[in-house]
Amino acid sequence: MAKLVSLADGVAHLVHDGDVVALEGFTHLIPFAAGHEIIRQGRQDLTLVRMTPDVIYDQLIGAGCARRLVFSWGGNPGVGSLHRFRDAVQHAWPRPLELEEHSHAGMANRYVAGASGLPFAVLRGYTGTDLPRHTPNIRPITCPFTGETLTAVPALRPDVTVVHAQRADRNGNVQMWGITGVQKEAVLAAHRSLVTVEEIVDELAPVPGQVVLPGWAVTAVAEVPGGAHPSYAHGYSVRDNDFYRDWDAVSRHRDTFRAWLDEHVHKAGATT
């Protein structure tokens, strides 16, 4: 059964310097509060994994937590580029950032392989693109029945995956719905997992479209209402599109970014 913890304790115990860390959530249910707690606790040398390193990873990268990024699309959805991500790649600020770059289909299948206890996944992907030239983790594989050549990618096995969900019960059974992305796979692929939730309830009333993660498959659950903001939790909040639009200006320069970080992350303290 998953342990119920505070966000600060969950991050302290489950996220270590040098870890491979996946924060997932596909536009919806992005664990921003947990990301901020990782920044506050000053984690270093992380390999950050995420299909869509959007604003949350822009913040972690700009705060200097990351050594390496494994990803498939790094932008501010509907707005434009990520300036902290760009600054790290183009000018190594605040430190160099190694990249391992994939496509969405490749990353999704890497999580599937991790969740499935397989060392690799097979897909029709990457063929003819320049990605395999720069990402050694993309290799050809031959079908033993047809002789056809397909593409293999290795399993992702994060040390820890962090996701946000709508609810959990007191046994740590987690319930999420709406766009559930790759969260189940990311949690099951990881050695440890931390789930922040809008609320902890006595009973998880079934909801259409729900994904339930049994408590025995989750390491820890922390109640963090609003923990996805400026992303959202379907049924609890709506996406703060203005925040995403404003982020473009906030993040464009190092000093405005640092001021934002001081005020909204460091001074804010743990949510719980």
Partner: protein
């Protein structure tokens, strides 16, 4: 996108971007399934669904199949997509069960660079891959959309930076280095059928696969189009001029755009 374009038809009451979006929407046929990226593709696809293609099936990579948003989502994961979808599936499923087998008729893509053979770059511009001049967001779903959809429609503003002889990085394959390359690579989708720009429409030459100017938007000249292209742009013999946006198209498009500013209905 809402300011008046300086090179569109300055007399009629529509912008070059509006013309581009309308022309793209017209490419989408009713009763087909369309894999939609965010931004211009989403706007055009929703315009099509709200006008001539009410049964267009919109598929977003967030896992929303058959989304029917009544406002333009800012991201591919906005709640309105899940709320209005026929089914919401996981991200692995949308790629593995729906895109990869070739079930989707049209892949609708944007581009930061596009070359003579319709190859697309959304990864890096200039410099090396490891030390690029400009780091772009990267691949997302595009490489497999370009590979697996029955056909691809590209929507992109036409200028010299974007329309380049050779893309700096092949993020998504069009026709590779020319005829036969898609087959050699084993790509099962048909590749780019049409590229819609703010100046006109380009289509691959059936023999050479080279993107060829086949239609101009009203008020645009072939010289303008050629001047905005980083290679010696071929012009089709039967070059035509497209129809301007209808009043109905403009009304719907502007209503849709208005919903985007605050993510709420006007």
């Amino acid at each position: 996108m809402s300011q008046r374009s300086e090179r569109g038809n300055a007399v009629a009451d529509w912008t070059a971007d509006e013309m581009m979006t309308v022309a793209a929407a017209r490419q989408l046929r009713d009763d087909t399934a369309c894999f939609v990226g965010i931004g211009l593709p989403s706007t055009a696809a929703n315009l099509a669904r709200t006008t001539h293609a009410p049964n267009l099936v919109l598929i977003y990579e967030s896992g929303c199949l058959g989304a029917k948003p009544d406002r333009l989502p800012l991201s591919i994961g906005d709640g309105v997509l899940a709320d209005t979808a026929d089914a919401v599936v996981s991200v692995p499923e949308v790629f593995n069960y729906w895109l990869q087998p070739g079930r989707i008729d049209v892949g609708f893509l944007g581009a930061a660079q596009i070359d003579r053979y319709g190859n697309i770059n959304t990864t890096v511009v200039g410099g090396d891959y490891d030390a690029p001049m400009v780091r772009l967001p990267g691949a997302g779903g595009a490489p497999e959309i370009a590979a697996s959809c029955r056909e691809v429609v590209v929507i992109v503003r036409q200028d010299l930076r974007t329309f380049t002889e050779r893309v700096d990085f092949v993020t998504s394959v069009g026709y590779g280095a020319g005829p036969g390359d898609r087959e050699r690579l084993g790509l099962r989708g048909g590749g780019p059928r049409v590229v819609i720009t703010d100046l006109g429409v380009l289509e691959p030459d059936p023999l050479t696969c080279e993107l060829t100017l086949t239609r101009l938007h009203p008020g645009v000249t072939r010289e303008q189009a050629r001047a905005a292209t980083g290679w010696d742009l071929a012009v089709a013999e039967g070059l035509t001029t497209g129809e301007p946006p209808t009043a109905a198209e403009l009304t719907v498009l502007r209503a849709l755009e208005a919903t985007k500013s605050d993510g709420r209905l006007p």
